[in-house]
């Protein structure tokens, strides 16, 4: 066995000592350490992404978003913008209708009643109309309650009563939406045949429909104004149903910003729908003599039909659909 020189052994021992005393990492690290050099910074993330998201350890994936200030924009919409849109649309429409009534008054049946009537809407059509109408009024009141109730109702009935009512209203709103949607679909299918625009509608519009002036422009079963109401009900009603069902089944296919968008669409379309329906209710009741009975009893006077739907009346006469008034007690009128 060869003898190692003492100097070599000492050198080896010194190397081992250095290796043990100094952890390998330390020798490689720079002298100044900045642990945040690559770290995320809250304000930078917010500026870049508008929301901060990460990984969580609970099943609720919504909770992985830790900050999304977009909720404040939605708040601004819900508490300020929507109040203005709703207030202007609904109150504005009421003001216009009252002013119009004061200036124009009820559109009279100028030729008086003939006593002879004809069927305007059959039982099925009236059922569809009134089912949708009752649902609409329920949905409108319970819907407006969500936006305006805390200002218009809560101060007068107190928090406990208001919560009772609002809880009930919320469920009514959700469940009545089903017959309402069915109603919109049935309206669409029942009346679509008469609601395509025709050249007659242009003439009708030019003459102000006989509402603004005193003309009696010819019209078929539905005039241009009614056709507009029809399409608005179909389109806005469809929008309401679609956005409403997204809200009713939250977070299935949507994230929070889409939920906010759905609520905004639902709310804006809703207040506009209410404003339009106020005009519809006006012209169907106090706005025009003889109009309500079309949807009430389903029968209208021949003179009413002549003034407002002359082309339709001609066809009905040709088909022999006019009914004479029943003579009182079946006695023939004196021949004097």
């Amino acid at each position: 066995m060869k003898y190692l020189p003492m100097r070599v052994m000492l050198a080896a021992w010194a190397v081992c000592l250095v290796a043990v005393l100094c952890p390998p990492g330390l020798a490689q690290q720079p002298s100044s350490v900045n642990p945040t050099a690559q770290s995320v910074k809250e304000q930078e993330l917010l500026k870049e992404l508008r929301k901060i998201e990460g990984r969580g350890s609970i099943p609720d994936t919504k909770s992985y978003v830790i900050q999304q200030p977009a909720g404040r924009d939605w708040r601004q919409f819900h508490e300020v913008t929507l109040h203005w849109i709703g207030g202007i649309a609904i109150l504005g429409m009421l003001v216009v209708l009252v002013a119009f009534y004061l200036v124009r008054g009820m559109v009279r049946l100028e030729s008086g009643r003939s006593g002879r009537t004809l069927v305007r809407f059959n039982a099925f059509e009236r059922f569809v109309h009134w089912m949708t109408a009752v649902c609409f009024i329920t949905l409108a009141i319970t819907g407006l309650n969500i936006t305006f109730g805390k200002e218009l109702l809560l101060p007068y009935i107190g928090p406990q009563a208001f919560t009772e009512w609002s809880q009930w209203a919320k469920y009514a709103h959700n469940y009545v939406s089903f017959p309402f949607t069915l109603g919109v679909v049935l309206i669409f299918l029942t009346w679509i045949a008469w609601n395509f625009p025709t050249p007659t509608d242009v003439r009708w519009m030019r003459q102000g429909g006989g509402i603004v002036g005193h003309a009696h422009p010819p019209a078929r079963r539905f005039n241009a104004g009614q056709k507009m109401i029809y399409w608005l009900v179909v389109l806005i009603g469809g929008t309401m149903a679609l956005s409403g069902y997204i809200l009713m089944f939250p977070f299935y296919e949507t994230d929070i910003s889409q939920m906010q968008t759905a609520q905004m669409v639902h709310a804006i379309a809703g207040v506009i729908f209410v404003a339009i329906m106020l005009a519809h209710i006006y012209i169907g009741t106090i706005g025009m003599e003889g109009a309500f009975e079309a949807m009430g009893s389903g029968r209208v006077d021949v003179n009413w039909a002549r003034e407002h739907h002359s082309l339709w009346l001609e066809k009905q006469i040709a088909k022999g659909r006019i009914e004479e008034p029943p003579t009182p007690q079946g006695k023939p009128a004196p021949a004097e």
Binding site: N34, P35, T36, A37, Q38, S39, V40, K41, E42, Q43, L45, L46, I52, E53, G54, R55, G56, S57, I58, D60, K62, S63, Y64, V65, I66, Q67, Q68, P69, A70, G71, R72, W74, R75, H78, E79, N145, I146, T147, G149, K150, L154, P159, Q160, F162, T163, S166, Q167, K170, Y171, H173, N174, Y175, M248, F249, P250, F251, I256, M259, Q260, Q263
Partner: protein, 198 residues
Amino acid sequence: MARMKFLCDADRCIECNACVTACKNEHEVPWGINRRRVVTINDGKPGERSVSMACMHCTDAPCAAVCPVSCFYTTADGVVLHSKDLCIGCGYCFYACPFGAPQYPRVGNFGSRGKMDKCTFCAGGPEADLSQSEYEKYGSNRLAEGKLPLCAEMCSTKSLLAGDGEIIAQIFKERVIKRGYSSGAWGWQTAYKETVAI
């Protein structure tokens, strides 16, 4: 009067989730509801940070503003609480909240979410302090006992701070100055419209 706030020092959070567990246990929070959670950003990458987040008890709280039945109120300590007797479970507070704090017992088809539940800053609810009904609806009321929220009190790295906003901001500030770096006072700008100036 103190203005109570939370502050999560993300540079100290080790994602142990003890704050989450403490909260669930202290208030007997039902399965599916998480008043507090820990979220990790850039998970597994350099610069990863974890943040413990719950209701931040905002100044001018958005949840309170959008609530259709006005069931929220702010206590003298600046804690945002709500009444489960008045809540109708519409879900609007969740849409407005910047921090995803409001929780509901059920998914919510047909508007059946149930009464909203969220972090109370361990301050109970509108019922009488420390009453049985308060405990059943909102959990324990540590503030009424003179204690701070349990999540922050038992945080092992003292990453999560809870208490008077000025005091916790001062603690955070001293730390940041001493160690020389910070990823920010998470959520402060959004919740309180101010941040901790270093």
